[in-house]
Subunit: 671 residues, 2 copies
């Protein structure tokens, strides 16, 4: 115990007081930096996904990428507009889970929560996989270890969260703003170079893309349209994280709702500029990105070089704009990894927080509701870490696979949240008599309706175009989580019902009589202590019990008992099969049969030794009996421990025997 | 629990009653068959060891084998003669451990016991390794798997012992007598053939033995003499098991001591006839046996065939006498394997029995003293099985390696036992006044003195000639076991001293006052039950405690408490670090400081759920608190369980709440 505790102290640090949770409210600029790392870090992988999906149809298709990006951004602004409604409607805070469950009932709420939980796991998995990708781009000698690097990244994140690292606002704000500044600077420089015709080519510009079977003609016909939809739905990964400002409304400085709404707008503007700018420059530098480079890329009609490693979009852009190995290139990679780490860290806050809300509501195990030593919800952090590591290793940090699941979760939550807002406005409309107020509600409702239709449409598109590519896994995971959460809730409710108190019937009732039993194995001090305690509690009846497992030993016990003239009758229970628990249970059942109103209390004398090997070499009978009695209805087990000091000091350290006068503090002694 | 119990029933069978241990006394012939399997089965490997040790010095040396065998037999008869003294001196039974500890004190006794325990492990390891060797001789396709076969043999033996198989007298007697009859028949037939000049050659007769470096001249000089001593000490493996009749004296029919003494003589005669006969026939059939055939054997000056497998002595004899593959050959192999199995099974009785004696005396963990369901000492059986499997696998069932350890253990026990008898006679001499009786004692003492000198001499020879060959391992094992046993004994003694009752001081003392605490986490039925029980025991002071880990929850608890008007004060303990146990322990320490004579009783309400996953999803706080309080001196923990039926039947199954009238048997209802 003490060794484990010491280890925990070294790893986790000394505990923080609950008081230190209280913090000053967030001003707008701080809030923007703090909550947008998740949404903005998707610039590090969402453009890549659009490009490589379009590349399935070959060289001509990739020129559609800015168009697809623009469509994604349109959807984003609609959703942001509807989230501004939610923020104003729930200024006390409330994520998609609360909005959905308040307005649509627990089933929708649980579904939204399940989707969000899956989402947070994927935020971590995707962020760390992308970070591993950028790290390998910076340090080519790490090639071939992306899965492990990403898994270690997750483990490090979990550890940092357990220690409560990165809780300061600067740690959350700085990487976001630096990343935005760095990428913006690159986009501006790149655009100037492009306009002046001085922009270099991307390192992959010389390759040609071989279209996959069925797309030899480029993006034409039904399948061409479907592929554009697929690219659009994959690119929707850029929208992950825009729900974050909504749940941090309570932390904002007043006017909370207004500040949160403006944070949302600024978040959208930054995301749009970065995403579209990146796609534009990728097009300008003739970047070629495919899912499997060695299968789909060609160089002068032949295969590409053996060791070719496909650097992600921001990395290739930095090479084209600043040149490979320059300070600018390294800076972009470092900032990208840092913002991805921060996005992962934010999920390590959101997941345990949502899990604790769900645990309080009885949808997840109770263990998730308690804060650990450093104020993080330790169990939730551990659960998230394990789930993300499993995902990262299962997909070997391959982003296109993970993204498919990600988008499903995000849009399930969006859709349910918007639907919830529709319900909210409907109720508000009914409750509101004044006409101008009603008109405002109608406008808000219309906005949420558009948001709902659009996000539902995207969800349908995602499910249609990517079901077999991995979306089914997300659907299955959400469904499974939903089932688990619902069964748990039913179980907790049943327990609560059973344990609830009926004030009239039972509040002050007392058991009729107490029948006390003392379990005797050998007549030594612990037995006397148990006896003394049992007699002090004045039971209606008091029996000492010895189970006859060994004739000789039983005989010795009886003799000793009589010799000491202990004024309590000693009952010997026969045990033909040398067991202790069954004869005792039979005896107790007999008592309960004869006098059903009696409460049976079994006093178990135990001695406690200090070291683990000492514990091993003493009979574990007491432990086993306690375990068996635990499941016996109407039986109270009183364990009377005797703390041994034998072997350690040669004499009793804790001499608390009742007969002797206990040591008193000499300074308090009146003598 | 129930699944494990069912599994145990299927594997082990239903329990036997303790009563069935009582058995009718053994008559002489039955006793001889029952106790001599261990000693006589050594004919299956001891001659081999003599032959292959001598073979180190080449062809000429192996002719010394009958001489070495005869020397071993002389030692055996001396030791048997001295054991006859022990049997008469201890007609109540008493193995080497009891004789050594009674007469020489606990240190010698513990050493003898350690040696014997190591011995029994080696009996099993050697018997199963030899059996595996014979099995491979019978089924050549098993070659190369001797280690695994022997390990499986040990496992099967352990399993059979746990099930209590082979407890009938026939199962112990039959294989011994059949083995003796079979080998005797072979020896007689072989001798007749030899005398008439019709005896065939052993399958290894055509080989020549290349002497090892230093022995090119055969058995000459100092090293020659040393090698003969080595062969002698290795051959002393034939003496293992002759101590067995001594410990079964109490089972004999009267006159016990006399019967046991005559069993010893007959055992010696049979062992001598079989061992010497085997060595004689091996010589007559020109058998060549070496430790590593492919290194030391030659055929016509060149290497022996690639796949040559060295069949052990009894197998080669059966081939020479009856012919390979004949019924006689197969019968000898089968009987040999059977008697080796029986010898192993006997060790699975002796080891756990000795271990239980040692456990009763406090030299081994208490768990070894209890009989299992089928009356075997299950823990001892398991310990022996594991130790023997480790040995067999470590030596890959290579007999020459194992035998070295075996002999050391046997002779340490012999020597200490004889020394103990010397002490015994000395005391008897002093106590005996009459001259003729004294003369008898002097004679007995002389016999034991010879026995002591001879076995000590053999021990010294063994240690000198084989220390580096493996004897050191036995010495180390005995030493280690001795240390463990002594530390354990010291520990148990210290515990006993500490727990012993001083009848004058404390037998009937009662604690001054009882201060009861009830741990409240939420105000539900279990708390009310704990409260009812605590009040029923009428403590001097009663407090309800709530630890404030979550402000909101604590507030709810307080409100509910007041609402129900529970007439017990509710104390709220602050917990800045959200822990439950530390504030509680601080509070208890405060009570103990203020009124040191008070007994503190903590009532812990608990609810017990039925299924493992239900157990997982409920807070384990109660368990953790109980574990912490267990180590706190002067605190009694009363666990008040509430058996939940939630989820299983939708309503309480065990409705034992005190307020409602419990269900009564309608047949007993007077209405």
């Amino acid at each position: 115990m003490t060794f484990l505790e010491a280890l925990k102290r070294v790893l986790v640090g000394r505990p923080f007081e609950t008081e230190s949770l209280k913090r000053t409210p967030l001003r707008r600029l701080v809030a923007l930096g703090k909550v947008s790392s998740n949404a903005l870090s998707s610039v590090a992988y969402a453009p890549d996904e659009i490009l490589l999906t379009l590349a399935i149809a070959g060289m001509s298709a990739i020129h559609f990428s800015p168009l697809v990006g623009a469509a994604v951004m349109v959807v984003m602004f609609v959703i942001i507009a509807s989230y501004r409604q939610s923020v104003k409607a729930y200024p006390g805070g409330g994520g998609d889970y609360i909005i959905a469950s308040t307005n649509l009932g627990p089933r929708a709420g649980t579904t939204a929560a399940a989707a969000l939980l899956i989402d947070f796991v994927l935020t971590v998995a995707v962020s760390m996989s992308a970070a591993a990708h950028y790290l390998v781009a910076a340090l080519p000698q790490l090639q071939g270890h992306r899965g492990e690097i990403a898994a270690w990244g997750v483990a490090l994140l979990a550890f940092a969260s357990l220690r409560g690292l990165g809780r300061s606002r600067w740690a959350q704000m700085l990487p976001t703003y630096l990343f935005v500044a760095g990428v913006l600077f690159m986009l501006v420089v790149g655009s100037i170079l492009a306009v002046t015709g001085q922009l270099g080519q991307a390192p992959s510009a010389d390759f040609t893309i071989a279209p996959q079977a069925g797309f030899e003609e480029g993006l034409t016909g039904f399948f061409g349209a479907l592929l554009i939809l697929r690219a659009f739905s994959t690119g929707s990964a850029a929208l992950t994280g825009i729900e974050a400002p909504q749940s941090s409304v309570p932390d904002m400085a007043p006017p909370r709702a207004k500040n949160a709404a403006s944070v949302l707008v600024w978040l959208g503007i930054l995301a749009a500029v970065l995403t579209l700018g990146t796609l534009f420059l990728a097009e300008a530098t003739n970047m070629r990105l495919v899912e499997f480079p060695h299968e789909s890329l060609q160089l002068d009609g032949g295969p590409i070089p053996e060791g070719y490693f496909q650097i992600p979009v921001l990395g290739q852009l930095a090479m084209a704009v600043f040149g490979s190995g320059t300070f600018g290139f390294i800076a972009i990679l470092v900032l990208t990894i840092w913002v991805l780490w921060t996005a992962g860290a934010s999920a390590f806050k959101s997941f345990p927080f949502l899990a604790s809300l769900l645990a309080v509501d009885g949808y997840l195990p109770r263990q998730l509701r308690t804060r650990g030593d450093r104020l993080g919800y330790s169990n939730g952090i551990a659960a998230l870490g394990i789930a993300a590591i499993v995902l990262v290793l299962a997909f070997d940090a391959h982003l296109p696979g993970l993204i498919q699941m990600y988008v499903v979760g995000v849009f399930v939550a969006f859709t349910l949240s918007q639907l919830g807002m529709l319900g909210h406005w409907k109720r508000r409309y009914v409750q509101t008599p004044s006409r101008p107020a009603r008109a405002k509600i109608v406008r808000s409702r219309l906005l949420n309706l558009v948001g709902f239709v659009l996000s539902a449409a995207v969800l349908v598109v995602v499910l249609i175009t990517k079901f077999v590519h991995g979306a089914w896994l997300a659907v299955a995971a959400i469904g499974l989580l939903y089932l688990i959460m619902f069964s748990l809730h039913r179980h907790y409710e049943a327990v609560d019902r059973e344990l609830a108190i009926d004030p009239n019937a039972e509040a002050k009732a007392l058991p009729a009589r107490v029948h006390a039993l003392i379990l005797v194995s050998s007549v030594r001090k612990p037995v006397l202590r148990a006896l003394a305690f049992a007699r002090a509690s004045r039971p209606s009846k008091l029996d000492a019990i010895v189970v006859d497992t060994e004739e000789e030993r039983t005989q010795r016990t009886i003799e000793k008992w009589n010799e000491l003239r202990i004024p309590v009758p000693l009952t010997v229970l026969a045990s033909p099969y040398r067991e202790v628990a069954p004869p005792l249970l039979d005896y107790i059942k007999g008592i309960k049969r004869d006098s059903p109103r009696d409460l049976v209390v079994v006093y178990v004398p135990e001695y406690v030794v200090g070291r683990w090997w000492e514990q091993l070499v003493h009979n574990q009978t007491a432990l086993r009996i306690k375990a068996r009695l635990h499941f016996e209805p109407g039986v109270v087990v009183a364990s009377v421990p005797w703390q041994l000091s034998a072997d350690t000091h040669g004499r009793a350290l804790f001499d608390n025997d009742f007969g002797t006068t206990p040591p008193t503090d000499p300074s308090k002694d009146p003598q």
